[in-house]
Structure formats: structure tokens, C-alpha cells
């Protein structure tokens, strides 16, 4: 009798739960860029669908159009996305323009602590104003700009001997930016296996953010700062410091000396293509692509290895990655918050890393054996320790486009000097901040 009553009670409560789920089941749309980690997220989200009863839809936009498409969506108050994994630089605009839901109360109510996530990612992906405990996103995808190279060529005795003869040094993973250029020069137009190879593929793209993300890798390594004092918008002497000028000259020389022909407008995809087609010895790209690169049957596995952006004056890498936010215009905010709650769980974060996403959760990053879990995992940790990001101001798009123009004019179009490019950049940025009422 008791058994029967228990069974009935269980059945009723299950039916009740299912009914409740069915009543609240929502069709959620998550927007992100179209790239490898997005596919991993689709796989991961199947568990959420099974647990919650909600259906997940995805809107993935190719990187070159991602910012345009999504910022237009936000600016027009569109309801396409319930959840958005937006670029770190959008956080200022997302918060100040009311596009993102502030998550503090939700985090508190659900016991989600930002202390559980890597500090650099919380600072970059979640907070606005920067560094304050006002959260508009949960760190979703840690990322930084790193490097990979043809390990098989670096280990080839003939090539090593030729390098030794030419430079008097061992061929190894570069430990400084200047050493990187030296290696790139060595490989430039070198015949290997009957084909002409080139030194490096770097970012030179003009339209979205490419050349800025590439060149800042050098600028940060030379010690580049956006302001003399954080929050002062005082840029004279920081943005155009002698170190910054030197770094920019370095990046231009690297572009001129060591990239494949016609490499004037290259970003992530072109960098991957150049490496996978065996054109270049070294390439820069986001860590997000590294699992896919390692798994590549032709140029992955034993033929590839990875290294952190080499320091010059300081150790620093360009920050990538994104946080996940709830869009303020969504009618399904409760369900969207449910997704974030689910995503923040340590076991989900562990699976996220397993599938190819870069978790920013401390339980994953500080877990036993993380560094050995992938050939690039240790480099990722090192990189995330020294990441620097572009302006995250609401006027970020203007600031970015100005830098894109000045850098491309100088590096690719060979117009003016590095000093002039950076001086003009300060003028552009000053105008933007004046319009913003910050200067």
C-alpha cells in the first residue's frame, strides 16, 4: 500500500514537473560568431535542452560580419537573440545603452560567484565600469591571441643546421618578438619539400578588427598603454610612446619581410588557410582555433606546436574571448537566465573544455592535469595571465575603426611613419572622447 502511494506520488510529482516544464518551455536563441567553439556549444547545449525542456536555437554569424550584425541588432532593440556571447569590447556599450541585463541580483540569488572564474576574464568580459563589481555577462569563452608553428620543420635536422649556420642560434620556439622575426626571415621563400614556404601569417585585415588585434600583439609586448593613468583618457606619451613606435615599426617589418604574397587583408580564416596549406612556418591566431588545428589530419598532431605571444619588453597577449549576456529586449529572460545558471556549473564547464570550448572557470583551469590535457593548455594559462584588451568604451566601434585605419594606412599601405600613425590615432581618439563628453 505504502509502495503504491509512493509510486503514485512520484508519478504525480514527475507529471507536475513535466507539466511545469512544458508550460514554461521556451524557444531560446543564442547568438554568437560562427567558428569552431560555436559547434562545441551546440553539442554542449543539448544537455541543457534535455534538463530544462527549453529548445535552443543558434544564430551564428561569420566573424567579419559579427560585430556589424549583432550591434545593429542590439541598437535596434531586436528580439532575435535571447542570449548573446558578445565580444569583450561591447560590454561598455551593452551596459550603458541598456542592451544587456545586469546580472548582480541573479548571481547573488543563484549563488554564482565571480570569484570562481579567472580574474582576467571577469574583468574583461563581465564588468562595467571596468573592474567594478557590476556584472553584465558571465565569462563564457576565455581566449587570447597565440602562435602555432610547424614542429616538423623546426625539428628537421637539415633545417636546423641551416638555421644554425645562418644565425648562429638553435632553431626553437621564439622567446622574443625579435627572435620571432629572425625565424620568420629564415623561412621566408625557403624551399622545403620542393615548395616555396613563407615566414608567418599575421593579421592584416582592414574591415573589422584584424590588423588591430594583430598589431596590438606587438604593441603590448613592447609595453603599450592606452592611457598614462587608467580612466584619465590622457593618451599623449602613452599611445605614441617610443616603445609603441618601435613595436609598430616591428609589425610593419614583419608584414613586409615575412608574409606570403598578397597577404594584405588577412584575418583568422586566411591565417588558418596559410598554415593548413603549408605556406607558412608560423602563424598567429586565437587559442579558440587550437583544438581544431591540433586535430587537423594534415598539419595537426605531431606536425604542430603552440607558443604564447613572445614578450619583448613585457609578457603580454591580446585578449580575445567573450562573456555570455542576457539581452534586455528578450521576452524570455527567465529561460535565458536559466541557461546561464546551468552554464556556470563546474561540471558543465569541465565538459565545455572537453568539447573544445575555453572555460574560464577556476575549477577547470586550476584542476589537476589541466596543463597536460592539451598541448596548448599550458600556453593558454600563461597567455591569460598577461592579457590586455582594447578600449571597452561605449564608443568602442569608433575607436576601433580609427585604429584600423591608422594601422592599415601605415603597415599595409606604407603611408607615413609609425610616429605619425600613432599621433593621428591620438587625434582621432581625442575627438571621439570629446564627443562622448569624457574629455
Amino acid at each position: 500500500m505504502i509502495k503504491r502511494a509512493l509510486l503514485m506520488a512520484t508519478a504525480m510529482s514527475t507529471a507536475g514537473l513535466m507539466g511545469a516544464n512544458a508550460a514554461q518551455a521556451e524557444d531560446l536563441t543564442l547568438c554568437w560568431a560562427a567558428w569552431d567553439p560555436a559547434n562545441a556549444l551546440v553539442e554542449l547545449s543539448k544537455e541543457f535542452e534535455a534538463e530544462s525542456g527549453h529548445t535552443m536555437n543558434f544564430e551564428f554569424v561569420p566573424w567579419p560580419n559579427f560585430a556589424d550584425r549583432m550591434l545593429n541588432e542590439l541598437n535596434s532593440g531586436g528580439k532575435l537573440c535571447d542570449l548573446l556571447i558578445g565580444d569583450s569590447q561591447w560590454i561598455g556599450g551593452g551596459a550603458e545603452n541598456g542592451h544587456y541585463v545586469k546580472l548582480n541580483d541573479f548571481f547573488e540569488a543563484e549563488g554564482i560567484s565571480m570569484d570562481d572564474f579567472a580574474p582576467a576574464t571577469v574583468y574583461a568580459y563581465s564588468t562595467w565600469p571596468k573592474g567594478t563589481p557590476n556584472y553584465y555577462a558571465l565569462p563564457a569563452m576565455g581566449d587570447a591571441n597565440g602562435w602555432f608553428y610547424r614542429k616538423d620543420w623546426f625539428e628537421n635536422e637539415e633545417i636546423r643546421a641551416a638555421y644554425m649556420e645562418e644565425t648562429g642560434q638553435e632553431l626553437r620556439e621564439p622567446e622574443t618578438q625579435m627572435e620571432l622575426m629572425q625565424i620568420a626571415k629564415f623561412f621566408q621563400e625557403r624551399e622545403i619539400d620542393g615548395q616555396t614556404r613563407y615566414g608567418v601569417s599575421i593579421f592584416t585585415e582592414r574591415g573589422s578588427e584584424g590588423i588591430t588585434m594583430g598589431a596590438t600583439g606587438a604593441l603590448y609586448a613592447w609595453g603599450f598603454k592606452y592611457e598614462n593613468e587608467p580612466g584619465s583618457y590622457d593618451m599623449e606619451g602613452a599611445v605614441n610612446s617610443p616603445e609603441a613606435v618601435e613595436a609598430l615599426e616591428f609589425y610593419k617589418e614583419l608584414y613586409q619581410c615575412c608574409t606570403p604574397p598578397g597577404y594584405t587583408d588577412a584575418y583568422m580564416e586566411q591565417s588558418l588557410d596559410a598554415f593548413k596549406s603549408g605556406q607558412v612556418a608560423m602563424a598567429m591566431n586565437w587559442f579558440a582555433f587550437f583544438p581544431g588545428l591540433y586535430a587537423d589530419p594534415n598539419t595537426g598532431g605531431d606536425t604542430i606546436d603552440f607558443f604564447v605571444n613572445p614578450p619583448q619588453n613585457v609578457a603580454a597577449s591580446t585578449l580575445g574571448g567573450q562573456g555570455i549576456s542576457v539581452v534586455a529586449y528578450s521576452d524570455k529572460q527567465d529561460a535565458a537566465l536559466e541557461y546561464i545558471k546551468w552554464f556556470a556549473q563546474p561540471d558543465v564547464q569541465a565538459k565545455w573544455w572537453e568539447l573544445g570550448g575555453y572555460s574560464a572557470h577556476n575549477s577547470v583551469l586550476q584542476g589537476d592535469g589541466f596543463e597536460e590535457s592539451a598541448p596548448f593548455a599550458g600556453d593558454f594559462l600563461v597567455a591569460m595571465d598577461g592579457v590586455q584588451d582594447f578600449w571597452q568604451e561605449p564608443a568602442y566601434a569608433e575607436l576601433l575603426l580609427a585604429m584600423q585605419k591608422r594601422l592599415h594606412d601605415y603597415i599595409v599601405a606604407d603611408q607615413g611613419t609609425a610616429q605619425e600613425a600613432l599621433d593621428k590615432l591620438i587625434e582621432d581618439w581625442t575627438e571621439v572622447f570629446e564627443d562622448e563628453g569624457k574629455l
Binding site: 556589424d68 550591434l71 545593429n72 541598437n75 556599450g93 545603452n97 541598456g98 582592414r206 574591415g207 606570403p260 604574397p261 598578397g262 597577404y263 594584405t264 587583408d265 561605449p394 566601434a397 569608433e398 575603426l401 585605419k405 592599415h408 594606412d409 601605415y410 599595409v412 599601405a413 606604407d414 603611408q415 564627443d435
Partner: protein
């Protein structure tokens, strides 16, 4: 006498309505018909224009609807007209406009002249020549980027074959000196057939008896060309120049696909820069002023040109 359909409808019309319609003057009925069209025109053409003029005097940003909009007077216009980068964009636009028109007129007229001669396969050649203008500019831009690719591009191989250089020794869309010409070449390839078709219409409109009279007067072919063909085709040619001029002044899609305005800002035409200001930087007030300046420029030039065209027609 049987009632017509109109009579039947008239009989079914309620007396009150019929009385009202009967009371309308011809002028009122005309307005009744034209009114909706005028309303639509005002709504989708005139109002946005007036609104743009208003915005051009403000600091409005479409991505910050909640920000206070300030009246900034002529500041946006002053900034644009004193910005050396914008003048470089204007120079790039002028270079593109001038050379595309020169090449398209010369080649288009030459092709039309040849096609106008009756020969075997005439129709087939006309169809083949016209094909490029039927393609989408985005497609054309994309496949020309492949043709221009220094390592695998056919264009580089062909040029290298003739000049005896290494195909990867020069870059059409990556070079500061060659990039402006690379967009001129593609636009000329795509739109010369359009000019050719207009010229062909002009050539075919010349009556044969004029040439016959010239033959009787023993005028040479050269003289016939300069005194009959050119003057009679000129209005058509000028019309083609007007169409291509206006189109290329606002050229966007083809060049964005080809060079994205690069390298640097070498091929950043005014329309590309305007799009960046309006929809990437979201400086709506500033870009409205920019659009007004471009509009006045093209409207002014086109008006002068149309007057000249009318004079040529009257001759």
C-alpha cells in the same frame, strides 16, 4: 438600349456617395488619384531628405537613442570639409569616376561600332559581351579577388606572361599604386557593355540615307565618322556618361568586395567611408552632413551636365 457594366455599377452606387462624387470637380478627382502617390513620395523620399538635413546639424547617434540630441550648427559640415582624410576619399572617388568613364566610353563606343557592322555571329558576340553586366557586383568582386590573387590568380599569370615577370612579384589589390587601377579595370570590365548598348542604340538610330548622301558627296569614311556618326551618337554617349557617372559616384558593393577600401584607405571611395561613418561608427549627425554634401555635389554636377546634354540634343 441595354445597360453597360458601368451603368450597372453606377446604379448600385448609394445615392449619398454618388451625390458626393458628382459634386467633385475634375481637379479634386485628379488629386484623389494622385494623392496616394504624392503621399508615398513625401513619406519615403522627401521626409527622409528633410530629416537628414535636420540631423546633419545635430550630434545624433542612432545607436544611442536615449542620449540628448544637441544642435551643433555647422560643426559637422566644417569637420567634413576640413578633414584631409575625407578629401583623400574624394580624390579616390574622382580617380575612379574619371578613369572608369574614359575607358568605358572609349571601349564601349569602339565595341558598339564593331558590333554595328554586320558580320557572322554578330548576335552571339553581342550576348557574350553583355554578360558581365548581368552578374551581381558581389559575385564579380569576389571572383576578381581570385583572379588578382598573386600566387594563383589568372590575371597575374596573363600579365606576367606578357611582361616576363614572376606572377607573384606584383599585387593588384594589395599595392598602393595598382589597387586604384584594379577597381577601375573591374568596373570597366563589368559596365562597358552597358555603354556599348547605349552607343549601339545611337548608331542604329542614324538613318542610312545620311551615309548614302555623304557617299554621293564623296565624303571619306573618316569624314563620315567625325561629321555624321560622332555628332549623332553624342547625345546617347552623354546619356551613358551621366548614368555611369551617377552610378560610380555612389559605387560601393563592387569595391567593398574587391579591396574593402584598402590597402589602407587608398580605394576607400566616399560612399564606403560614408557607410563606415553612418553604420559602423554610428555618427548619424555627422554622416547626414556627409550625405548632404555628396548629394549636393552629385545633384549639382548632374544638373549642369543635363543642361549641356539638352544643348547637344537641340543642335
Amino acid at each position: 438600349m441595354t445597360d453597360t457594366a458601368i451603368d450597372k455599377i453606377a446604379q448600385r452606387t448609394p445615392t449619398r456617395v454618388a451625390r458626393k462624387v458628382r459634386g467633385l470637380s475634375d481637379r479634386a478627382i485628379a488629386w484623389l488619384f494622385v494623392g496616394p502617390t504624392i503621399f508615398l513620395l513625401l513619406a519615403i523620399n522627401i521626409f527622409p531628405l528633410i530629416w537628414t538635413v535636420y540631423l546633419s546639424f545635430t550630434n545624433f547617434r542612432a545607436n544611442r537613442p536615449n542620449r540628448e540630441v544637441e544642435w551643433v550648427g555647422l560643426r559637422n559640415y566644417e569637420r567634413i570639409l576640413t578633414d584631409s582624410d575625407i578629401w583623400l576619399n574624394m580624390q579616390a572617388t574622382a580617380h575612379f569616376l574619371f578613369w572608369t568613364i574614359v575607358f568605358q566610353v572609349l571601349i564601349g563606343f569602339a565595341l558598339a561600332y564593331l558590333i554595328n557592322k554586320k558580320f557572322r555571329g554578330n548576335d552571339l558576340w553581342t550576348t557574350i559581351i553583355v554578360l558581365p553586366m548581368m552578374l551581381s557586383p558581389a559575385v564579380v568582386g569576389n571572383f576578381w579577388t581570385f583572379l588578382y590573387q598573386p600566387q594563383i590568380g589568372l590575371f597575374n599569370y596573363i600579365i606576367a606572361f606578357f611582361i616576363g615577370a614572376d606572377p607573384s612579384s606584383f599585387e593588384m589589390i594589395g599595392s598602393v599604386t595598382l589597387a586604384p587601377w584594379s577597381i577601375v579595370i573591374v568596373d570597366t570590365w563589368m559596365w562597358t557593355p552597358f555603354v556599348m548598348l547605349i552607343c549601339l542604340a545611337g548608331l542604329r538610330s542614324i538613318p542610312d540615307y545620311i551615309y548614302e548622301a555623304a557617299e554621293i558627296d564623296r565624303a571619306s569614311k573618316w569624314r563620315q565618322f567625325w561629321t555624321i556618326t560622332v555628332p549623332m551618337v553624342l547625345p546617347f554617349l552623354m546619356l551613358a556618361v551621366l548614368f555611369r557617372g551617377i552610378e560610380n559616384f555612389k559605387m560601393f558593393d563592387l569595391v567593398v568586395q574587391l579591396t574593402g577600401g584598402g590597402p589602407g584607405s587608398i580605394t576607400e571611395l566616399a560612399s564606403i567611408n560614408l557607410k563606415r561613418e553612418a553604420f559602423e561608427k554610428w555618427r548619424t549627425g555627422y554622416s547626414s552632413a556627409y550625405a548632404i554634401i555628396l548629394f549636393v555635389t552629385v545633384f549639382g554636377l548632374a544638373s549642369i551636365y543635363v543642361k549641356a546634354l539638352n544643348k547637344v540634343k537641340e543642335r
